[in-house]
């Protein structure tokens, strides 16, 4: 059900990621101020954009689940948020490294984007514990969906609030400062971004397909050899049925 196009996506991901790496190390010029270290930007920013996009996508799938009751949407929502959390760790780590290399401190509170991201991360880090603490699978899915919708709506509001509150040390690499990014850097950035999106979608589909296959296997075992054949379902935060 989820496996369609997986091979094409995988190949595309490999190509794009390799291409992005090549561009980053061979094509993009060193930044005038920050030097070589600035190149981590090509990893950090796409990670952040895709992670945030993943959280919002999780919220959108959650809305679909509540509207249609189709547990497939719950699974899509769960995997999107789950992957975005992992990417989120990457964002915080790379952001920290960049901060240390550029401004000498592992964490700087004055960057609204990083702080906003931390808050969003803290919120979504509760997603799996929340799911885990609800026994009934249908209720678990429904409550998780409500949470994902609240979280998704929270992302823009949070960024607004924190941005208003902070001075602007964090380099605004997108938006109106587009003019200050030379063409080579912009191209490299775009390729990195597309590569990251492609990678995310590929991983997302892989996890969906894998979980779905496990579900079908379990259902088959139970159908063929009786309810006891597959052992009791362990408590889990992941959806167990579609």
């Amino acid at each position: 059900m989820f496996g369609r196009g997986l091979r094409t996506l995988s190949i595309a991901s490999v190509v794009l990621v390799t291409g992005a790496f090549a561009l980053v190390f061979l094509y993009a010029p060193n930044d005038a101020d920050q030097g070589f270290v600035q190149k981590i930007f090509y990893l950090h920013v796409p990670l952040a954009i895709v992670a945030l996009g993943g959280f919002v996508a999780g919220g959108v799938f959650a809305i679909q689940y509540l509207r249609t009751g189709d547990r497939g949407y719950d699974l899509r929502s769960y995997v999107a948020i789950h992957l975005s959390l992992i990417l989120g760790l990457g964002v915080l780590a790379t952001g920290s490294i960049w901060a240390k290399a550029s401004w000498g401190a592992w964490w700087v509170w004055d960057e609204p984007t990083l702080v906003s991201f931390l808050i969003v991360f803290l919120l979504f880090a509760c997603y799996q514990p929340l799911r885990f603490s609800i026994d009934d699978p249908e209720r678990q899915a429904r409550y998780a969906a409500v949470f994902a919708i609240i979280g998704g709506a929270f992302v823009p509001l949070n960024f607004l609030a924190v941005r208003l509150a902070s001075s602007l040390i964090h380099p605004r690499v997108l938006g109106t400062t587009g003019g200050s990014m030379p063409g080579e850097m912009r191209l490299t950035f775009l390729v990195s971004l597309v590569a990251m999106v492609c990678l995310f979608v590929t991983l997302w589909k892989y996890e969906l397909a894998s979980k779905h296959a496990s579900m079908r296997l379990r259902r088959l075992k139970r159908a063929l050899a009786g309810d006891d054949a597959a052992g009791p379902l362990a408590r889990t935060s992941a959806p167990t049925q579609i």
């Binding site: 009934d136 699978p137 249908e138 139970r222 309810d227 379902l233 167990t240 049925q241």
Partner: protein
């Protein structure tokens, strides 16, 4: 008049476990359905589905002429549930509890007084529910369930904890002669059978027995346990 209950292959799962499946029956207005079964057989699940508290996962359910779950809102307020828990706020008095429910159902408060009189709780009506004995709390719960004059009564062991005097006092509210169609879960086989028109026996969520009361003996029922 439309039947009070029409079920067709109704089922409900809890995760991988099937709590209820394949239940089909029709209950005419004013009739009583007795439900028997061991603990965990699905009796409470069935009751809660009929009360619109749970949605069926399979099959069709119509209560008082309306389909569930879509038209659940039209059924609420016409159904009275007496559950295992009394559903009363223990820190509030019987009177306050009933007044609260009266407001939620749009029922005049005079009815609260009439009911308290009927079940013989006038004297203790202003004490917190937690000070009442289980029998008295049960009487208050019965008042709560019949406060809004429902057309269908769903009763889970209604006479538990009631002494014979109290049981007699509540008969006009929730008994066979009260009027509304009733679904009664009971472990008192003889009494349950005597009061029923239709008998449903559940075993592991499936209907093991479904017959008019006249055709069922106590032995048939006890075989379910």
């Amino acid at each position: 008049m439309a039947p009070a209950i029409e079920l067709s292959e109704v089922g409900r799962a809890y995760g991988e476990r099937t709590a209820l499946s394949g239940v089909s029956l029709t209950l005419e207005p004013g009739r009583t359905l007795a439900v028997f079964g061991a603990n965990g057989a699905g009796k409470t699940t069935l009751l809660r589905i009929l009360a619109t508290l749970l949605r069926p996962h399979a099959g069709r359910a119509r209560v008082l002429g309306r389909d569930l779950p879509q038209d659940g809102w039209a059924v609420r307020g016409r159904v009275g549930l007496l559950a295992h828990e009394p559903l009363l706020y223990r820190e509030l008095s019987a009177r306050e509890n009933l007044q609260f429910h009266a407001r939620l159902h749009g029922v005049a408060e005079t009815r609260v007084e009439a009911l308290l009189d009927q079940v013989g709780l006038r004297r203790r009506a202003d004490e917190p529910v937690r000070t009442l004995s289980r029998g008295m709390a049960q009487r208050v719960a019965i008042c709560r369930a019949s406060l809004h004059e429902p057309e269908l009564l769903l009763l889970d062991e209604p006479l538990a904890n009631l002494d014979p005097g109290a049981a007699e006092a509540v008969e006009p509210l929730i008994g066979r002669t009260a009027g509304p169609a009733r679904v009664v879960i009971s472990h008192d086989v003889e009494h349950g059978l005597a009061e029923a028109d239709l008998v449903l026996g559940l075993k592991a969520g499936r209907p093991a027995l479904l017959d008019p009361a006249g055709a069922v003996t106590a032995g048939d029922v006890k075989a379910l346990y």
